[in-house]
């Protein structure tokens, strides 16, 4: 909508070959999947809110990607994008999510009691535990597409919902545009504050428009439950604490999410969800659970083991530096989290993290004692 490519019908006067992007130097999921045939088939379509194929792919055209890292290269502008442009998005989803088929169903399980263990990760190794996900609010278009009016309506509704929480979830909202300097410093020190996106992956998709209008941060008084409003998704929900009690973090995460969802439902704006894609979010990589559950864990010896990456792969985990995605590890401390999002439930994904991290800590301890760990290397999960 706001970006230059939306005069869709006018473009139909040009042939497909003339409009088709030059993807010869590109390495992202969109570039691998998009053909002139698919482009020709989809380019005269729009979602009811006016989102077009060119809007979907703009970020992937503008960001050829990295020779070693495969980015997704497309975004959704609204819930209907995943239907209207399924000929493009289904193959991308399949590529990104381990062969997930258009007929597959995704299971949602936010019953924290179904998690086994997770309260006994050794705090000498596991420094902190965190679970995050995203939620989109039905009836509004997504961050690449929404107008200022919609974004403000999302903020208003979110703040109403969040400020009605009580007990362990009692907290307050800090709108980005009216934050005082003192509040800003505090939020930075707590590692809560998010910045205007600078990554061209996000800016080319239009997600930084009108910054900081309609954006803000809510957190509970205990600083263990945090919600970002109108960053890359309508809502990003985060539960975290120091130490290794992932079970408690997941409990708080599930309980808080359910409470928030109830309030949105009462306002006739539940979360975007369907049987096939689970929770619908802006980036196809976050479909399903949208969940990243992880720990900061000290693995100085194991991380230098020749089979470290293979172990992670088998455990269905991924590593990042402690600054988050695209950062390097510092002092042998890694951010270890689940690699999957779609096709398995929240409980299942957090279970993988809990079991996998427990195993790797035991392997680390063995390596400290100078013992071999080859027998402990797990089978593919």
């Amino acid at each position: 909508m706001p970006f230059g490519n939306t005069h869709n019908n006018f473009k139909l006067n040009f042939k497909v070959e003339d409009e088709f992007p030059d993807l010869s130097k590109h390495n992202n999921h969109m570039a691998k999947v998009l053909t002139k045939e698919i482009y020709g088939k989809l380019r005269d379509k729009q979602t009811p809110s006016g989102y077009t194929l060119d809007d979907v792919i703009q970020t992937g055209v503008d960001n050829p990607g990295h020779p070693f890292i495969m980015t997704v290269g497309c975004v959704a502008g609204d819930e209907e994008s995943y239907e209207v442009f399924k000929d493009l998005l289904d193959p991308i989803i399949s590529d990104r999510h381990g062969g997930y088929k258009p007929t597959d169903k995704h299971a949602t399980d936010l019953n924290f009691e179904n998690l086994k263990g997770g309260d006994d990760l050794d705090p000498n190794y596991v420094l902190s535990s965190r679970v995050r996900t995203g939620r989109s609010i039905k009836g509004y278009t997504l961050p690449p597409h929404n107008s200022r009016g919609e974004r403000r309506a999302i903020e208003k509704l979110s703040v109403e919902a969040l400020t009605s929480l009580d007990g362990e979830f009692k907290g307050r909202y800090y709108p980005l545009k009216s934050m005082t300097d003192a509040e800003q410093d505090q939020l930075i020190n707590d590692h809560f504050l998010f910045d205007k996106p600078v990554s061209p992956l996000l800016t080319c998709a239009g997600m930084a428009r009108d910054w900081p209008d309609g954006r803000g941060i809510w957190h509970n008084d205990a600083k263990s439950f945090l919600v970002w409003v109108n960053e890359e998704d309508h809502l990003r929900v985060i539960a975290m604490e120091q130490g290794g009690n992932m079970r408690e973090v997941f409990r708080r995460f599930c309980v808080g999410l359910k409470r928030i969802e109830e309030i949105f439902k009462k306002h006739n704006h539940g979360f975007m969800w369907n049987e096939h894609l689970g929770y619908v979010l802006t980036c196809p990589s976050n479909l399903g659970t949208g969940l990243r559950g992880g720990v900061h864990v000290k693995l100085p010896k194991l991380s230098t083991h020749a089979k470290f990456d293979e172990i992670l792969g088998r455990l269905r985990l991924q590593k990042r530096g402690t600054g988050g995605v695209d950062t390097a590890s510092v002092g042998g401390v890694f951010d270890i989290s689940n690699a999957d999002r779609l096709g398995s439930s929240e409980v299942a994904q957090v279970q993988l993290v809990v079991d996998g991290v427990k195993l790797m800590v035991e392997m680390e301890k063995k390596l400290e004692k100078g013992e071999a760990v080859d027998s402990m290397i797990p089978a593919q999960k």
Binding site: H7, F10, D18, E19, K45, D54, D213
Partner: protein, 452 residues
């Protein structure tokens, strides 16, 4: 005002029989250009956004929350749910021309309109909303997506133009175009002071959307039209084209060394306006073999034309500039294309600050004594000149060498502006020489803004 048909170029380049309807400097007797378009195959309804009802298509299983209605009903619904007041941007911390002029009333009046290309007000102002500006530097804060933008949204563009161009009122004034370089006098500077001379402008191809709005096919069409025309240049203007995407490393390094190469824009003023989309597709540089006439294709405007050379012969630089421009215009005319131009606003470019002549004529000049004199800024101001560092806009001066050029773009002709630069630079050099000799200098009286 007479309702003339606006003829959109056919995209194969065939000339259209309505070709002479729209006025151009070569046909000034034609009546003022009116934006009301005929129902050609390229005209879109001006009623509002999302009026492309017929082509909305829904897949099976989409949700029944009103989205199964036809697109125009959905659009009307959204407009009701979100009145203009809900969408009005928060401009309290902003310091740009758009923020200074945009009121909720104007926004409400214009929000649901669109140009025939479906370009909207929200798209025009996005860059000004995203970039609040600097307390000392007032940016424009809005861009045009096509020629019609300046008409459909004149309620906001006219006051912004007036603000930026020192009171020029597009509703009542006419802009003079004059590319007769023979009129320039005293156009050769003392080369002990002037190191180089340069004149640049921009030109847009009528019928194709501007860089914030254009699709890939349109941008490629701009490239095709421009390159085809340029390949017809002969003699001292003969040259070749380097496409940004196909350049090899050696060519790239050569162009960098010659200070010809332009980069993907990083300034948020440009990226927020969508001008860097699809980079480097259909972008490129053309220059003549003598390397003193250079065209940028599809950077911030369809074309940027630059004439330059070392030394102080501004008259020759301007002569080549005018000659080159005229020849390029002739070459595109032969194929049924023309430049965007009208009597109110002169040459139409992406940024309102470049309307009129789009012309910046300047020199790199050494002024070691004058630049230290406290009266320097006032002298420049009265001469209607501006100083920049030798890296261009937003750079600082190195040593005593400055880039001195005209402030104005609209309301004075090309000849007038170049003469103003010539007279002004000669005055500055004279001041410099006087200070060298220990003589005093005078602040000149201020020049008139533009002829009424």
């Amino acid at each position: 005002m007479a309702q003339l048909s606006f003829c959109r170029r056919s995209f194969s380049g065939r000339s259209c029989k309505n070709f002479t309807c729209a006025p151009s400097p070569s046909h000034p007797q034609v009546q003022p250009y009116c934006i009301v378009t005929m129902a050609t195959q390229f005209t879109r309804m001006l009623a509002g956004r999302n009026t492309a009802a017929v082509l909305a298509s829904l897949g099976a299983g989409t949700l029944a929350t009103g989205y199964l209605l036809t697109d125009s009903t959905a659009a009307a619904e959204r407009r009701m749910l979100y009145p203009p007041s809900a969408d009005f941007p928060d401009l309290r911390k902003h310091n740009n021309c758009m923020a200074a002029s945009l009121t909720p009333a104007i926004y409400a009046h214009l929000r649901d309109k669109s140009t025939p290309n479906n370009w909207t007000l929200n798209q025009s102002i996005q860059t000004g909303v995203d970039n609040p500006g600097h307390p000392f530097i007032k940016t424009v804060g809005m861009v045009a997506g096509d020629e019609e933008t300046y008409e459909v949204f004149s309620e906001i563009f006219d006051p912004v133009i007036k603000d930026r161009h020192n009171g020029y009122d597009p509703r009542t004034m006419k802009h003079p175009t004059d590319l007769d370089s023979s009129k320039i006098t005293s156009g050769v500077f003392d080369e002990r002071y002037v190191l180089s001379s340069r004149v640049r402008t921009g030109r847009s191809i009528r019928g194709l959307s501007l860089p914030p709005a254009c699709s890939r096919a349109e941008r490629r069409e701009v490239e095709r039209v421009a390159v085809m025309a340029l390949s017809g240049l002969k003699g001292d203007l003969a040259g070749r084209y380097y496409s940004l995407g196909d350049m090899n490393e050696r060519e790239q390094q050569q162009l960098i060394d010659e200070h010809f190469l332009f980069d993907k824009p990083v300034s948020p003023l440009l990226t927020s306006a969508g001008m860097a989309r699809d980079w480097p597709d259909a972008r490129g540089i053309w220059h003549n073999n003598q390397k003193n006439f250079l065209i940028w294709i599809n950077e911030e405007d369809h074309t940027r034309i630059i004439s330059m050379e070392k030394g102080g012969n501004m008259k020759r630089v301007f002569e080549r500039f005018c000659r080159g421009l005229k020849q390029v215009e002739q070459l595109i005319h032969e194929r049924g294309w023309e430049f965007m131009w009208n009597e109110r606003l002169g040459y139409i470019l992406t940024c309102p600050s470049n309307l009129g002549t789009g012309l910046r004529a300047g020199v790199h000049v050494r002024l070691p004594n004058l630049s230290k004199d406290p009266r320097f800024s006032k002298i420049l101001e009265n001469l209607r000149l501006q100083k920049r560092g030798t890296g261009g806009v937003d750079t600082a001066a190195t040593g005593d060498t400055f880039d001195i050029s005209n402030n104005d773009r609209l309301g004075k002709s090309e000849v007038e502006l170049v003469q103003l630069v010539v007279d002004g630079v000669n005055y500055l050099i004279d001041c410099e020489k006087r200070l060298e000799r220990g003589q005093d200098i005078k602040i000149p009286s201020p020049l008139a803004q533009f002829r009424r």
